[in-house]
Point group: C2
Chain length 442, copies 2
Amino acid sequence: MKQIKGNFVPQALNNTSSLPAVSASRPLRVALFGFGTVGSSVARILLESHPAGLELSHIFNRNVARKRVDWVPDSVVWTENAEDVLQASSSNGGPDVIVELAGGLDPAGNWVRTALANGKSVVTANKKLIAYHGLELEAQAAAQGLHLLYGAAVAGGIPVIPGLEHGLAGDRVDRVEGILNGTCNFILSKMQEGGDYAETLAEAQQLGYAEADPTEDVAGYDARAKLSILTRLALRAQIHPEEIPTRSITDVSAIDFSYARDLNCTVRQIARAGRIDGELAAVVGPMLVPLSSPLAWSRGTENMVVTTGHYGGDVVFSGHGAGGHPTAVAVVSDLVGLAQGSCRIALPSTPAKVSTELEVPHYIRFTVSDRPGIVAAIAGALARENINLNAILQRPGFPLDRLPFVITVEPCRTSALQRALKEIARLPALLEPPLDMQILEK
Amino acid sequence: MKQIKGNFVPQALNNTSSLPAVSASRPLRVALFGFGTVGSSVARILLESHPAGLELSHIFNRNVARKRVDWVPDSVVWTENAEDVLQASSSNGGPDVIVELAGGLDPAGNWVRTALANGKSVVTANKKLIAYHGLELEAQAAAQGLHLLYGAAVAGGIPVIPGLEHGLAGDRVDRVEGILNGTCNFILSKMQEGGDYAETLAEAQQLGYAEADPTEDVAGYDARAKLSILTRLALRAQIHPEEIPTRSITDVSAIDFSYARDLNCTVRQIARAGRIDGELAAVVGPMLVPLSSPLAWSRGTENMVVTTGHYGGDVVFSGHGAGGHPTAVAVVSDLVGLAQGSCRIALPSTPAKVSTELEVPHYIRFTVSDRPGIVAAIAGALARENINLNAILQRPGFPLDRLPFVITVEPCRTSALQRALKEIARLPALLEPPLDMQILEK
Ligand SMILES: NC(=O)c1ccc[n+]([C@@H]2O[C@H](COP(=O)([O-])OP(=O)(O)OC[C@H]3O[C@@H](n4cnc5c(N)ncnc54)[C@H](OP(=O)(O)O)[C@@H]3O)[C@@H](O)[C@H]2O)c1
Ligand SMILES: NC(=O)c1ccc[n+]([C@@H]2O[C@H](COP(=O)([O-])OP(=O)(O)OC[C@H]3O[C@@H](n4cnc5c(N)ncnc54)[C@H](OP(=O)(O)O)[C@@H]3O)[C@@H](O)[C@H]2O)c1
């Protein structure tokens, strides 16, 4: 970049890239890496909608023969040799852009590094790769004047990442809360209507909404990867996904929905992060959501993100967070941006440690073998940590030797509650460890 | 732009503007035109948050002396001479960017033209100017390699425009529906809780949510300007705002909320546009919204936009559509984009005529002097136009000589319904013209 001298016009204004960069040059050649759910949807949209300036040129997949479909024109090269595509010079028929849609850290990460090293920009939907290696890969891309776009990595087809980058760059976002995993939301919103966990999980698997091994989703690993990306873009804080305390939804049962209802709440898997007294707090797990909150409106596999800005207040985004076509919309939108010479807005971020110390109200369900004395013992343990009881809920109709009841407590420090629950867990009347969920405030 | 030859790298990929363009050059100098609600909020954010690469340099307003505030540093030039600022060369301390926040078509339009003619990019929140002259001004900006950004012009602080441009460019949006006017939403959501129109309007005026002359808002002119902008960006169709059939909310009364409730609906001012059988339909006015629709969740001055994509399905955006700070967030986000050498995605659009012929269900309220025979007469008029009656609702407790009752009809063509209503209006028992509202489908 030049020095400022005399009649200098700032580079930003000298840049004519809002004119479609493609009009006078050939289209960008696009190579898909991975022809599964999202990859084939991206091919569909590219071939049906013909967005200006983009040409599908290569499809790479292992054992590619079984992937061939008749609706892809003959001009497209099908291959199972990744290196060939990554090394092929774009001046020699090679692709200009690699669209990584295989998933996982390896070999996807190496493809992306090799693509960038060979002068090819990259679009990906791979939240895991971006959560773990996004910073490093963005730096590699920027150092070479290339682009790494991943609008599909969080909330699929909902433009949360573009919204944060282009629409909220001028705010100071203090908090982000979201429903980031469609599988968990499907299961929990079905349970709200009366299903039980195992049945609903089986239904989700049958409908293709949950994997045979649902751990990644129900344990919260998928959501925490996405939350770490949102935390960087919204709160400008770099955190490692594995530092985010994550609780599985598997312990939530039908009875929790009844008690939640009594509290004018429902239960959802929530991913939330915020700056509290200069500390960065982040957490993923099932939580009580007030029925009056937009987060309680989400049904089925829907995703939703609520950002809270210092200047602009709450902004809600919702829609289809997953599925081949919605996710492909975000991928193709990134490609259209590339074709037009667009660029992401660089939102500066700094490394942060995740604080586990929150001060929020909690819902705690106890399952006990008999009632007399137990409430006093629990209340005593809480009182010793200065935790104020808010409500005690007990529905009729349960056997006295296996009695679930609920205590809600006023906002208290996580560490204090954990000490109290540890003491409570030692009470002989307790049949299983207490289930503790945060309650979102209205 | 160069011809493709030999080792050609497409321009789009050769563009390094994702690196903050500001890092090696001086900040962009920003001149505010208009220091009212939004203008002063933009100044606040620029001075409090110091977004990289931006410097507030000028504030222009008529009779500027009374606008001075002590929190703006001395380096900023206050002026009431627009031409001086617009003509000042940026190599000579003049601004690089004009932020137009005065509003209206004149003189705002001329400032924008002069700014562009003098090599200055423009950011504006002026929906009216963009609705009426956006295409022409964009062409002027593009022809000079400059930028015209207006992310704040629709739905204030909610990133609907950035979302459409950067996140949904890859979809084919078939429909857009929204609550685009905070004043109307405040009035109607208060009426839903039992207020009457005149009282609620007075309250809105007292709270600063409605102007002394509320016509622009309640008659739907503000919403139709915004709808015409959304129609261009989402549906890629250029329509003139004055071609959009627009109905005022002033005829909606408490009784309509009771009847709507019986139909599991509420009433909102809705702006909607869609492609139906190749025709472009658009309309603004009070409509019945099912309580299950996200559009019914909006409260107070909130705005909401729902887009329906062929590939990605429904996406919902909601938040603060107005107010100085939220609107300023969108303005500053556009400025951050400019400072980083970013650009908008050009979404190609073509001229379209607005079809007034929709086929949707309707709610029609009649106020009659006596009941016998009137239903038969109305039903007959509808039947002659092949319009099917759906429900007849009549609440008890009204005087027989001034009886409001409601008929809902199945989806029917607008022209047919209008013919029938014209005939019905001639019935002597009718005390006032029927109030007809579209019913949104779930
Ligand atoms: N599906 C969604 O709704 C969604 C939403 C947002 C983001 N994403 C992300 O998008 C990416 C793709 O997801 P998807 O649902 O499309 O997955 P998918 O259906 O499993 O497709 C992945 C494709 O990549 C191929 N592949 C995987 N590993 C490979 C390797 N080592 N070498 C060659 N080919 C390989 C697979 O081939 P085989 O058939 O041989 O396995 C398959 O065709 C993932 O990062 C995912 O997290 C998906
Ligand atoms: N307020 C919102 O919530 C909102 C939301 C979205 C978009 N917008 C748009 O943002 C723009 C500004 O709105 P606003 O609410 O900030 O309006 P405002 O409070 O009335 O401010 C407008 C400012 O511009 C000045 N001005 C107007 N005409 C002028 C002229 N001919 N010459 C010199 N100065 C002039 C006014 O000066 P005086 O004090 O002398 O009148 C006033 O200071 C409008 O286009 C509006 O549609 C506003």
